[in-house]
């Protein structure tokens, strides 16, 4: 059974693939709220990929998920370089895995907190409906 590797595209990544064959393969998901590229790989290559990372797994949709963000960046970089969404993209990224080892290790310890204003929810939480009894 085929497995899939999804690459979510933000503005920066979208501009990186503008005018390339990859641009035509962009899929909107969640009604266009997100855009992604999908690499289809064999079950064996999918299995080989998840075995590289302790948290990685196939989800119910058959996607390879919970791989490190550094690895996703590397896969995107390889897709752009190879101008392809074939399995060779993932193969190449796996070959170069040792080059991002430190980044991956760091990710297990820290991830930058997003700059999001949470004052509104803190206000809501000041008066919870359920109170300790």
């Amino acid at each position: 059974m085929a497995k899939y590797f999804g690459i979510i595209l933000d503005e920066k990544r979208l501009s990186a693939i503008k005018g390339t064959p990859l641009e035509e393969k962009v899929e909107p998901i969640f009604g266009g709220a997100l855009k992604r590229l999908v690499i289809e790989v064999s079950d064996e290559l999918g299995q080989k990929t998840i075995e590289q990372f302790s948290k990685a797994r196939f989800d119910a949709r058959g996607f390879i998920e919970e791989t490190p963000a550094a690895f996703k960046r590397l896969v995107f970089k390889k897709a752009v370089e190879l101008k392809s969404l074939g399995p060779e993209v993932l193969e190449k990224a796996l070959e170069e895995l040792p080059t991002i080892k430190d980044e991956i290790a760091k990710e297990d310890r820290e991830l930058p907190v997003p700059d999001v204003d949470i004052s509104d929810i803190l206000e809501l939480q000041k008066n919870p409906v359920q109170k300790p009894i």
Binding site: D10, F30, F63, V113, D120, I121, V129, Q130
Partner: protein, 464 residues
């Protein structure tokens, strides 16, 4: 004409709620005087990491979540549970509940059947174990038999369990000596923030449902921050009821040791609460609660424990989705729904668990899947929406991946307020998910604090 209205909450599983909590300090002192040894509760470790703490089971037993179980199981009870998923009394119960101890600690304690053991937690008296029997187990055998095998349970077990499965690892990591007997909490723990406002043991939950005038309540099992698909599931599943939809929707989070990569429990309970604080479900109809249990991820087996817990709380219906309480591909993704629609004979169920002797009053609501469909313009139910190629399926792993990459999940996936709760705890712990640091610190602080309580002189000498 038959009146089809449901007029009362279901009875507790086993007929009577267990409550083994002594609140009078003088009574507690008298019980401690009968003890002959003291034991400081230790976490169960796997490769140095905490995977379980028996204190959570003692809490769940003594506050009645696991009624009619009253303590650590005897050898005969353990065999009965492993062989037929029934207690010796005939009531359905899925998991071994055991107080395990190392041979070294057992020798040091010098206790045997008839002795009472004082259990301490965080350096304070916590509970008493009335030792009825002492026996040995083979933890690996217990682990294998608890979850099943493809040979013995071909209906739903797809591949043998291994060290990637948290529940299997928990049982495999048990100590070999079991002290069987009843537990009694003698020093009532204080639940820590933010869990304190979600603490509804069965007796209190039933009181609260009655105060709210609820007779039909549906349970939502969770170990996750709710995405919009979960929210749609809760709202739609609650249309079951009697002559009107359910009065109440009760989220019951399983709180305890978790796998690395899951959301912290603090974020899970507050994110669910945010659904009513931000008005997506009226708070008059929605309650967030939790049960202390180191999740075993046993899919159909776990669903039986969920039925025990939620029926004891007074809940009439239970949502069961695809991959219920599952991890990996060990079970069929519909194993729980198979159990609750026709039974799984190899696990002791020739019929669904509500249709067997010793079974449940709680009724299943087996739900397929919700997805986001831009053409339906809604969070659509998979048995309704036929827009293949357009809809987007939810995946918790996918959402965690987005967060990991620094992408804010859009409102089609997370309510903005829910995501902000994730950010709140991300700031607190320095990380959005459980990592080794969080799990170790969490194991030290646990979910409770214990008030100081003196212990009798003869026991002070026993503290090593």
């Amino acid at each position: 004409m038959q009146d089809i209205r449901i007029k009362d909450l279901p009875p507790p599983h086993g007929g009577k709620l267990v409550e083994r909590v002594v609140r009078d300090p003088r009574a507690a002192w008298k019980l401690m005087e009968k003890c002959s040894a003291v034991y400081d509760i230790k976490p169960t470790l796997f490769k140095g990491n905490p995977v379980r703490n028996v204190y959570r089971e003692i809490m769940s037993v003594c506050y009645g979540f696991f009624s009619p179980v009253e303590g650590s199981m005897t050898k005969a009870e353990l065999e009965s549970v492993l062989e037929r998923r029934r207690l010796l009394s005939g009531w359905v119960f899925p998991y071994p509940i055991l107080f395990d101890i190392s041979e070294e600690d057992f020798k040091k304690l010098g206790v045997g059947p008839g002795d009472w053991l004082l259990l301490r937690l965080k350096g304070e008296p916590f509970a008493i174990l009335e030792i009825e029997e002492v026996y040995e187990i083979d933890p690996l055998d217990v682990a294998i038999r608890t979850f099943g095998t493809p040979d013995k349970n071909p209906e739903v077990v797809r591949v043998p369990f291994d060290d990637k499965h948290t529940g299997y690892v928990i049982y495999k990591s048990f100590n070999p000596i079991i002290l069987a007997g009843k537990y009694t909490i003698i020093n009532e723990p204080k639940i820590r923030k933010p869990f304190d406002r979600f603490w509804y043991p069965p007796k209190k939950a039933r009181e609260e449902f009655k105060r709210r005038g609820w007779t039909t309540v549906i349970a939502h099992q969770t170990r996750n921050v709710p995405h919009t698909g979960h929210e749609a599931l809760m709202k739609m599943a609650a249309y079951i009821g009697d002559i009107k939809p359910c009065d109440g929707i009760v989220v019951n989070a399983i709180i305890g040791a978790k796998r690395i990569g899951d959301f912290p429990d603090e974020a899970i309970v507050e994110a669910h609460e945010m659904l009513h604080l931000a008005g997506y479900i009226k708070p008059e109809r929605h309650m967030v609660t939790f049960t202390l249990w180191d999740m075993r991820y046993g899919n159909p087996i776990e669903s039986l424990l969920h039925a025990v817990i939620r029926q004891n709380m007074g809940i009439s219906f239970h949502m069961f989705g695809r991959d219920h309480a599952a991890l990996g591909e060990y079970y069929d993704i519909y194993a729980t729904q198979i159990l609750w629609s026709k039974g799984i004979p190899s696990f002791g169920f020739d019929a669904p668990p509500y249709a067997v002797p010793g079974g449940f009053y709680i009724r299943p609501q087996n739900i397929a899947e919700f997805w986001y469909c831009p053409k339906c313009k809604e969070f659509a139910y998979s048995d309704n929406c036929a827009h293949k190629g357009i809809y987007s399926r939810y995946s918790g792993s996918f959402i965690r991946g987005l967060i990991n990459e620094g992408v804010t999940p859009p409102p089609e996936i997370y309510r903005p307020e829910v995501y902000k709760v994730v950010v709140k705890w991300w700031k607190e712990f320095g990380y959005p998910f459980n990592n080794e640091k969080y799990l170790k610190e969490r194991e030290e602080r646990l979910e409770v604090d214990l008030p100081h309580m003196d212990i009798p002189e003869h026991l002070k000498k026993k503290i090593s």
